[in-house]
């Protein structure tokens, strides 16, 4: 059987976790990212691989119970072993067969050599090791990855990306054959989490990002984020959803949406579901229903009809509580009497930092800029427009 990452979608992209490779989970400090490496280890235990899990900052008992919280009964696997660099560090005798004091790097090196020879897949908490042993431990981590490479073993690293020196960060990137970034989606508060493959040198793949939830028990579960497209009657919501989606359906009757528009979009590595609402007031219960659990809102307005702006704002208010991010699509810019975006922002009395994007849904002009603006609010850091470390 092949070794895999055990992470949904990722395995479809990289297909396997080949021997001699180092797989790194690069985790934003604000995100609970431990589950990724644990899921990789557990999945491969089930597949019969011999796996070792190195711990330095938490006790072996805590490691076991963290696994168990996800429903992963690692104790029942004979092919599982904890490498305990914790107990002697805090001054307890270790109950584990493999243990060393991390203060004594030479002792650890001897131990790790043995571990790498014995096990197929070894997990290293790279940033914790550096926290305990100092940045010179980077050299050891590099050595272990090289050794693994030369004897056909696999290493899983988790690296919590605190502001370490550039040397450390570059060093980790350099030894990683595959890099998976785990980050947060935030807008005032954390709205969700994503992970994305930044590289995998055994596959020629483009970066793509997946939103996930941590489920206990269960682990990392991918989900497709929902973006709500709302706005007044006739503003062009359905037209927008169709203009931007790879495939879309609308429940329109007599020229108006009576239930919803649904579109699916694959864009810049993201998979997104778009839900368009009806615009007419009699369907407002649907608006509230569709608004639930949306990750962001696109408010479509007809730039030629300022008399509809109050309704637009009212619709926005009914879905953006909890600080959901939103962008405004100033539609029908192809018409001669369309108001410019700045004027719309002024008339709607919107905060200055709300993006108002001029578009023409029927001509398909500017529509992707709307998604870009929303991704900017949600995911990208300044200047980014694809997954980077």
């Amino acid at each position: 059987m092949k070794a895999v990452t055990g992470i949904p979608v990722l395995d479809e992209v990289v297909e396997e976790f080949p021997e001699s490779k180092t797989l790194t989970y690069w985790i934003d400090p604000e995100v609970e990212g431990n589950a990724f490496a644990m899921q990789t280890i557990y999945t491969n235990l089930e597949r019969g691989f011999k796996c070792a899990y190195v711990t330095v900052t938490i006790s072996p008992e805590s490691v076991i119970s963290e696994f168990e919280e996800f429903g992963w009964e690692v104790k029942e696997f004979e092919n599982f072993e904890i490498v305990d660099l914790y107990s002697s560090y805090v001054g307890f005798p270790s109950k584990c067969k493999y243990n060393a004091n991390p203060i004594n790097l030479e002792e650890v090196e001897v131990l790790m050599k043995k571990v790498l020879e014995k096990f197929d897949i070894v997990f290293l908490p790279a940033s914790s090791i550096i926290d305990v042993c100092g940045e010179e431990a980077l050299r050891c981590i590099k050595d272990w990855c090289s050794l693994a490479k030369s004897i056909g073993k696999r290493v899983v690293l988790s690296f919590v990306a605190w502001p370490y020196s550039k040397e450390v960060k570059d060093g980790i990137i350099e030894i990683s054959n595959a890099l998976v970034k785990v980050g947060g989606i935030h807008h005032r508060v954390i709205l969700g989490y994503y992970y994305g493959l930044v590289k995998a040198d055994w596959k020629n793949v483009k970066s793509r990002a997946i939103l996930f939830k941590l489920v206990r028990p269960g682990g990392v579960r991918a989900y497709i984020p929902k973006i709500l497209v709302t706005g007044p009657y006739n503003a062009g919501k359905s037209s927008f959803v169709h203009a931007i989606s790879n495939r879309a359906v609308s429940v329109d009757r007599l020229g108006t949406t009576v239930a919803l528009d649904h579109g699916h979009l694959e864009y810049k590595g993201f998979s997104i579901d778009l839900f368009g609402t009806p615009g007419q007031e009699r369907f407002d219960p649907i608006l509230r229903m569709l608004g639930k659990e949306a990750l962001g809102v696109i408010l479509v307005v007809d730039s030629t009809k300022p008399e509809t702006f109050p309704r637009a704002k009212q619709m926005l208010e009914s879905v953006t509580h909890f600080g959901l991010p939103y962008v405004v699509a100033a539609n029908k810019q192809d018409l001669p009497n369309a108001l410019p975006p700045e004027e719309i922002k002024r008339r709607m009395v919107l905060p200055n930092d709300v993006p108002v994007i001029p578009i023409s849904a029927v001509k398909g002009e500017g529509v992707y800029k709307v998604i870009d603006a929303l991704l900017d609010l949600l995911i990208w850091r300044e200047g980014e427009d694809e997954l980077e470390i």
């Binding site: 009757r253 007599l254 369907f283």
Partner: protein, 121 residues
């Protein structure tokens, strides 16, 4: 007779079948055309949501590559709602008592929806 009163006549006949507590003729885009509903019900919302229900069901069916559904039936212990198309522009929806005989109701509803279709034709 005005169109409106002719449509209301259709609803009245439906009610005579017994077990039908409320009924409405609704445009496909969810506007109330005619109704026989007690005044304490929000008839406009009922009309809009009936159009949503039938519209969504029709789209769901056609997404599966099937033809149009004949009707949408919603059952609860307090009664049933049945919505059925009445031509391209309208639909007919009734609310029944919990113990209503569905077969009988569907039969009557079929006839009534034909009439509505002709009247609005």
């Amino acid at each position: 007779m005005s169109l409106r009163s002719e449509l209301e006549e259709v609803l009245k006949e439906l009610k005579a079948t017994g077990d039908i507590e409320a009924s409405a003729i609704v445009s496909r885009d969810g506007l109330l055309i005619a109704a026989d509903i007690s005044s304490n019900v929000n008839a406009e919302a009922f009309a809009a949501m009936s159009a949503t229900m039938l519209g969504a069901a029709e789209t769901a069916m056609s997404e599966l590559g099937k033809g149009l559904p004949d009707r949408v039936v919603v059952e609860s212990s307090d009664g049933k709602i049945v919505a059925t198309g009445a031509g391209d522009r309208a639909l007919l929806v009734v609310m029944t008592s919990p113990k209503a005989n569905l077969g009988l109701i569907l039969l009557q509803l079929g006839k009534a929806s034909k009439k509505v279709e002709e009247l609005l034709g």
